[in-house]
């Protein structure tokens, strides 16, 4: 009797251990199938992401090509046309005797010059070839030098080395350029600065500092009440996600323009790794 029970318990234990093993096989089947499905899902997901990204890149390329085409056509057609108007006006002025007509023709020449300059700014903003901070800083530097020399103001320009490797859209370039243009105009017209220093750094945000020395400076709150200039530049900066900071110093004025640079806008070798 006891032998029979012992024998039975032995087989019972064998069965009891076999059942979990069978179950384990089922669970292994389930997990392997599940892992396979998970892998397929991840491959499909990556494939979809890649297709979406390539579609976006294609779209961006099409837009850039269109921007470049418009910029080229504006430069070739409108620019050339406006230049011709300016030269014809200049040459006609000398042939005219009527003072009133001469004045009007001179105005046409001046407007044409101004239009050529404005259009050149638009073309520069549209052309994707200049979609980097280096292009922006170069353009600002050239403008500031011409403008401040015309007004006999001492000026310095300084930019750090990393600047050349940052990408920036045409919209941001144009807005920053127009903000700096307005600030330099204000410095010449209102503050009476004797020396202007422009510094551009990128660590990690793009910061352009304009330091005016020898002028009277201004209180931003008072300026806001007087005109639209300050309101417009602040609006431009907020449109592109940037900030403007004014600080009155004993020797003049210090204005900082700050623009955050997303990590993807840095070129591969210069991406900032945050710990």
């Amino acid at each position: 009797m006891f032998e029979e029970v012992d024998n039975f318990i032995f087989w019972l234990i064998v069965t009891a251990f076999t059942m979990p093993l069978l179950l384990l096989s089922v669970l292994i089947w389930f997990f392997l199938s599940y892992q396979k499905k998970k892998y397929q899902y991840e491959v499909e997901k990556k494939d979809t992401q890649l297709r979406e990204q390539s579609f976006i890149i294609e779209q961006q390329n099409v837009i850039q090509a269109e921007r470049n085409r418009i910029a080229t056509e504006m430069h070739d057609e409108l620019g050339a046309g406006l230049t011709v108007i300016k030269y014809i006006s200049d040459s006609v002025v000398y042939k005219l005797t009527d003072e009133q007509v001469r004045e009007d023709i001179n105005k046409i020449a001046q407007y044409s010059t101004s239009l050529v300059r404005n259009m050149s700014e638009i073309i520069w903003a549209m052309n994707s070839r200049f979609d980097n901070v280096e292009g922006l800083i170069g353009y600002i530097r050239r403008y500031a030098a011409e403008f401040l020399e015309d007004h006999h103001i001492e000026h310095y320009f300084k930019a750090d080395d990393l600047i050349g490797t940052i990408n920036i859209s045409g919209e941001k370039r144009r807005n920053i350029y127009l903000v700096i243009k307005e600030l330099l105009h204000n410095a010449v017209k209102h503050s009476g600065a004797q020396k202007i220093q422009i510094e551009a750094t990128s660590s990690p945000d793009l910061v352009i500092r304009i330091v005016e020395t020898g002028g009277q400076g201004f209180i931003p709150e008072n300026m806001e009440k007087e005109g639209n200039g300050l309101y417009n530049i602040q609006k431009r900066m907020s449109q592109i996600g940037g900030k403007l900071h004014f600080h009155q110093t004993p020797t003049g004025m210090e204005i900082s323009i700050m623009l955050p640079i997303p990590n993807e806008d840095l070129t591969k070798n210069d991406q900032i790794i945050y710990a």
């Binding site: 669970l27 389930f30 599940y34 499905k37």
Partner: protein
Amino acid sequence: MVPIETLLSKLNLYDIINILSFLVVFYFYLNGKKSLPYFGLFLFILIFLEVYLQVYWSYTYKYNIFIYNIISKYTIVYYTLVYYNYFRNKPWSGWIQGLFFSWLVICVFMNSYEFDTIKFDKLSYIGGLIFISGLIFMYFYDIIYIKQYKNIMNDSLFYLSVGIIIFFAANFPILVFVDLFITNAKKGGPVYSNFIQLGNIFLSLGYLGASLCSKK
């Protein structure tokens, strides 16, 4: 009343895991998160039956098989509710209802025909567990072949399914030959008890996993 010392001395590891699971479900419930349908209530009644009533019955009447008969059927009913809830939109979900009511009829028949408070109603329980195992395999099949990929690590039902299937596999032979074990308690008792304990621990871990996957 059962003295608290007796209750505590009879407390098993799986009972502690069940209490922990209930507390987790209750905590998540207070934070607006839900796990399986009526899971908190299920655990509360289960803990009451396993921790108090079976000890009380044993203490008062010197046997507790009757309470285990109730627990076994109670768990099958709850598992059916959970899987029916999962499959309710399937065209064949009516089969779950049909099979469940058939099982219920068998239970009533078995208990009317051979009602005995000191005998474990193993046939109804084994029948119920085979039925639930079928539903679990359907659930696995659904995840692998029918549904779109989803992360099962956040799925309460996955943990419950694994817990049940391990419990069933570990205890199936014991449940089949339970009478023999009881009659030869001296020889088979420890093995019987250890396997039941081990299976219950896996089942309770399944409950704990399910309770930790509560979502808003």
